[in-house]
């Protein structure tokens, strides 16, 4: 395969200007590093090189050497004589070498682009008005930037199957397909599910699955992301919204500890879809299908929107006071959550320390698929460890809580999001304690809680998570939460003040971070909030080497024992 060494920088000439680029990267990336776009369709930085769209044709030349002696041949002025390749070469398959000359803006290159553009449009249906890809379609973009601007084609266009069901979440329109084969390469190389292929030949080549098989794996929607045109589209997003109306917010997928970077697209406070965001350290350009569907939680039937006490809706301030009444003076137990943000976990930890509460925490575990769905189905288990909230590896149950209730060690519980019945607490024991429930969705615990404090989903608040590789990542609020609610941080902070008579107010994230990073023993010591906002921060997880983390080796993740052995 084309596997370059990316170690040192070399000097190449890009359109007559000398620039520095890492040695061995391809011409498309090299040009992009210096602001020159080389349009391309089939090339994708995370897939093998196919070289079949021919859109990235550029002119390439290398310094000539004497065949016999190997000495460089020079021009009259002493500069190396450049041997230009007589035909244009594809940029995606041309790895730079020292002294290489590239032309991405010459007449020949422009002609090539016009020609290829014309060929791509020759059998392409005039679907723009009804095609979801409009607004983020590379055919549209490159046609405007590099196309001829008019059509010379008067023959009939090829007819192929339209709006076929390729899988439960993907719709395929074969006429729009430009046969770039990105989806096939993705299915083979990343999803490891070889179901897609081309049948027939020539211009009648058609993308399809074998009859009876479907593109149904948990990464099928990534093919929709990488499809440069509207051939593969998301059935869920179909005809929902034009993309130019969407506001994009950076978020992190809360499905598992993989911590995929996402882009949440919303309009007027309603999320329309979720797509992955590129992060070369964590998820490349991929995410799971199941993770994308999580935005549906926001408007789910069982969403808790209003605070209540004993089944009656009450204002939030009253609810917080009622919660305080239930907890004060009692033996408090706090059931924390691995789904809470790092900031929330920090505040919860402060509350626990200062009220001498007992802390209980459970993990949620499932099958690890070795790619981006880890066995740990919570996004911030390591946050609980790093914040000090938990000093043991959470198990998949709360039997210790059940025991504590039986032993009379807890009387009042602050439950953050968990379902106690499901976690092994007996019905009997549940009736012995008073519960304040703080969460986003109803469950068996919220239905017996005396006070319900609504929480915000990941999309309605900002915060940070620590993923399975101990990468600390922050995410932004994408949409506003239900009317009249406060963020989880604010609620915990208020409870804390009531229970401890403190007056500290930790409502803003940067204030919370000032406190988090000031503790000298913490891994978070010295981290600036602004630094956190800029990108991913690698934390050192060595302190927890001895814990048997449940995640397996996966995409961009090697479990600690494999790296340190």
């Amino acid at each position: 395969m084309i596997a370059p060494e990316k170690n040192e920088l070399v000097v190449i000439s890009l359109n007559g200007v000398e620039v520095e680029v890492p040695n061995g990267i391809n011409a498309v990336e090299a040009a992009a590093l210096h602001g020159k776009e080389v349009p391309h369709y089939c090339y994708h930085p995370k897939l093998s090189v196919a070289g079949n769209c021919r859109m990235c044709l550029v002119e390439m030349g290398t310094p000539m050497r004497d065949r016999g002696t190997g000495d460089p041949i020079l021009e009259e002025d002493g500069t190396p004589k450049i041997g230009w390749v007589p035909k244009p070469v594809i940029g995606c398959a041309t790895n730079v070498s020292p002294g290489m000359h590239l032309r991405t803006e010459s007449d020949l290159v422009n002609e090539c682009r016009e020609g290829i553009m014309e060929f791509l449009l020759v059998n392409h249906p005039l679907d723009c008005p009804i095609c979801d890809q409009a607004g983020e379609c590379r055919l549209q973009e490159f046609a405007t930037d590099y196309g001829r601007g008019y059509s010379r084609y008067i023959e009939r266009k090829n007819v192929k199957p339209k709006r076929t069901r390729l899988g439960p979440r993907v719709t395929l329109d074969d006429e729009r397909c430009i046969l770039c084969s990105r989806c096939i390469r993705f299915s083979q190389e990343v999803a490891k599910d070889d179901v897609l292929g081309f049948v027939d030949r020539g211009s009648f080549s058609t993308l399809t699955c074998f009859p009876g098989k479907e593109l149904a794996n948990n990464y099928s929607l990534n093919t929709v992301d990488i499809c440069p045109v509207g051939a593969l589209t998301s059935t869920d997003f179909r005809f929902k919204m034009r993309v130019w109306f969407l506001k994009e917010s950076k978020s992190i997928c809360p499905e598992s500890s993989a911590g995929c970077n996402t882009l949440v697209s919303s309009r007027e406070g309603v999320i329309q879809r979720i797509t992955p965001r590129r992060n070369d350290l964590i998820n490349d350009t991929w995410m799971t299908d199941s993770g994308r569907a999580l935005y549906k939680l926001v408007q789910a039937e069982d969403r808790i929107r209003r605070p209540s006490a004993n089944g009656n809706d009450i204002p939030l301030d009253d609810a917080i006071s009622r919660a305080f009444e239930i907890l004060k003076g009692k033996k408090i137990g706090v059931v924390a959550s691995c789904r809470s943000t790092l900031e929330e976990q920090f505040l919860t930890h402060r509350l626990i320390e200062l009220t001498d509460a007992k802390v209980f925490i459970r993990g949620h575990f499932g099958e690890d698929d070795g790619i981006l769905l880890s066995a740990d189905r919570t996004p911030n288990l390591r946050g609980a460890l790093v914040s000090g909230l938990s000093n043991y590896y959470p198990q998949d149950h709360l039997n210790d809580l059940n025991q504590s209730i039986s032993d009379g060690e807890v009387e009042s519980l602050l439950v953050i999001g968990e379902d106690l019945l499901e976690s092994g607490v007996s019905q009997d024991n549940l009736s012995k304690v008073s519960v304040v429930f703080m969460g986003t969705h109803q469950n068996s615990t919220s239905s017996i809680a005396e006070v319900i404090l609504p929480g915000l989903t990941v999309f309605e608040k900002s915060g940070s998570f620590i993923n399975r590789s101990f990468f600390l990542q922050s995410f932004d609020q994408a949409i506003p939460g239900p009317v009249g609610l406060l963020s989880d941080c604010e609620i915990i902070s208020r409870l804390h003040n009531l229970l401890t008579d403190e007056a500290a107010e930790f409502f803003k994230l940067n204030e919370i971070w000032k406190a988090m990073s000031s503790s000298k023993n913490s891994l978070l010591a010295g981290i600036e909030f602004s630094e956190l906002k800029k990108g991913v921060i690698q934390l050192d997880g060595a302190k927890w080497e001895h814990l048997s983390f449940i995640e397996k080796e996966a995409l961009h993740h090697k479990p600690l024992e494999l790296t340190t052995s």
């Binding site: 070289g51 021919r54 090829n158 046969l179 027939d200 211009s203």
Partner: protein
């Protein structure tokens, strides 16, 4: 033009038309077969390669690249197994020479292949034969069995330590399998989409990403004769840089079409058409000739070709003066390609002829890269429309423009093969194309020759 018919020199096809010669090993051995194999095994593999290089033999599959030099590009340092593939997927329109060799004298090919395999150190050799040669595949398999039993092929050849198995692999009717990387992909069991070069040069990353040599049937047969008489002796046959003999396949509207083997440069195109092949049908005159299979550029009967050759000499040729070797047709702006000479006389509607050729390329395009896939089909649609009454004057320039957008921009040479016929036909017969626009309402004359 000489009045005496030039004489063939049959080296490869020596026994092809001998009624007393069968394709069994008994016959082959009687006529001195497998002696060259024994001679090669008494040499070192590098020495065999040197002889082939010295002979200057050029590939007879279409590209005309010196075989000895191709073998030199082989990556022997990687330690990966080396493979030899015989390209017997003869599909270039106008070519029918490999068929004669395989059906009538298969042992010559086997001997040539075993010598070549020995020279390059191949672990295994394949013959990729087109599926339409049903009987040919059976003949070859039978011949291989005979050769194996006699120790000329397979395990411990001639009792030496060198073993090389020979496998006959059938194609299934795709022209693109004649492209060397397309062939390799097909042999690997995938769709025969040619690979991008760089980096997938077969000599480095070929079959199963191992170093591979792909040679044409006729080229490999020549290897046996090169070893028999020696590389230097071979290089004396023909002309400098155009050594050995070539089998020319003449088809189309001549009196005696067929296959003829001549020394390179021994005769001109005119001598071939008018002497050897008995000229055109009575009352007809020559209109155009395609000298090297349909992928080669067409030559007009009344064209003049001028320029200077590689040795510096000037030339001023009519169509009939073009010498039949590698460099001659190339100097005239076309190529000798696979040696398929297609002759067209004045009853041929040039636009229809080109429509026929365009339809071939549109049908055979593998569809991998954009220019060839869309461009070849577009050109077919244009010419088909032109031939069914919808021609416009601007179609000629449109065809040229489309062909120009394909040439040089594709993954493999199929792009050029599809573009060159269009470019040459339209450029040289522009009037015919422009006239087609005014013939739009004419019904097809039932007596005229239908080509599309």
């Amino acid at each position: 033009m000489s009045t005496t018919t030039p004489k063939e020199r049959r080296i490869i096809l020596k026994h092809a038309d001998d009624p007393n010669y069968s394709n069994r090993i008994g016959c082959y051995l009687r006529e001195g077969g497998y002696e060259s194999l024994k001679k090669a095994f008494s040499m070192k593999p590098e020495e065999v390669g040197e002889e082939v290089l010295k002979s200057g033999v050029r590939g007879r599959g279409g590209a005309g690249f010196p075989a000895g030099m191709k073998w030199k590009f082989l990556d022997r340092k990687s330690g990966k197994p080396i493979y030899l593939i015989c390209n017997a997927d003869e599909s270039e329109p106008g070519t029918f020479k490999d068929r004669q060799i395989m059906y009538k004298d298969p042992h010559q090919l086997i001997e040539g292949m075993m010598i070549s395999a020995f020279a390059i150190g191949a672990k295994q050799a394949f013959i990729y034969i087109r599926a339409e040669f049903h009987e040919g595949a059976r003949i070859l398999e039978r011949a291989i069995l005979e050769a194996k039993q006699a120790g000329f092929c397979g395990n411990q050849i001639l009792g030496s330590t060198y073993s090389c198995d020979l496998v006959v692999h059938r194609g299934a009717g795709a022209y693109i399998c004649g492209e060397e990387t397309g062939l390799i992909e097909s042999l690997e069991g995938k769709r025969p989409n040619p690979r991008i070069k760089p980096p997938y040069f077969p000599a480095v990353l070929g079959l199963y990403q191992c170093p591979t040599i792909v040679n044409n049937v006729e080229t490999l047969c020549n290897v046996r004769h090169i070893i028999e008489i020696g590389g230097e002796e071979f290089s004396n046959i023909g002309k400098p840089n155009n050594t050995g003999t070539r089998i020319w396949c003449v088809s189309g509207q001549v009196m005696k079409p067929g296959y003829y083997e001549f020394e390179c440069g021994a005769l001109t195109l005119g001598e071939m058409i008018f002497n050897v092949c008995g000229g055109l049908k009575p009352g007809r005159s020559l209109k155009a000739v395609i000298p090297g299979g349909s992928s080669a550029k067409v030559l007009r009967a009344d064209e003049r070709f001028t320029g200077s050759l590689k040795d510096g000499s000037e030339f001023d040729w009519g169509l009939e003066d073009i010498p039949l070797d590698f460099d001659g047709p190339m100097a005239a702006g076309s190529m000798s390609g696979s040696g398929g000479i297609i002759v067209m006389d004045d009853t041929v509607d040039i636009v229809e002829a080109m429509a026929n050729v365009n339809a071939f390329y549109a049908h055979e395009s593998c569809g991998q890269c954009t220019p060839c896939r869309e461009g070849s089909l577009w050109m077919r649609k244009i010419t088909q429309r032109m031939c069914s009454g919808g021609a416009r004057e601007e179609d000629a320039d449109l065809l040229l423009s489309v062909a120009k957008q394909i040439e040089g921009r594709t993954i493999c040479a199929f792009g050029e093969a599809a573009a060159w016929p269009t470019q040459s036909f339209v450029t040289k017969f522009k009037d015919d194309f422009i006239k087609k626009a005014s013939e739009s309402s004419k019904e097809r004359d039932s007596k005229s020759l239908q080509l599309i």
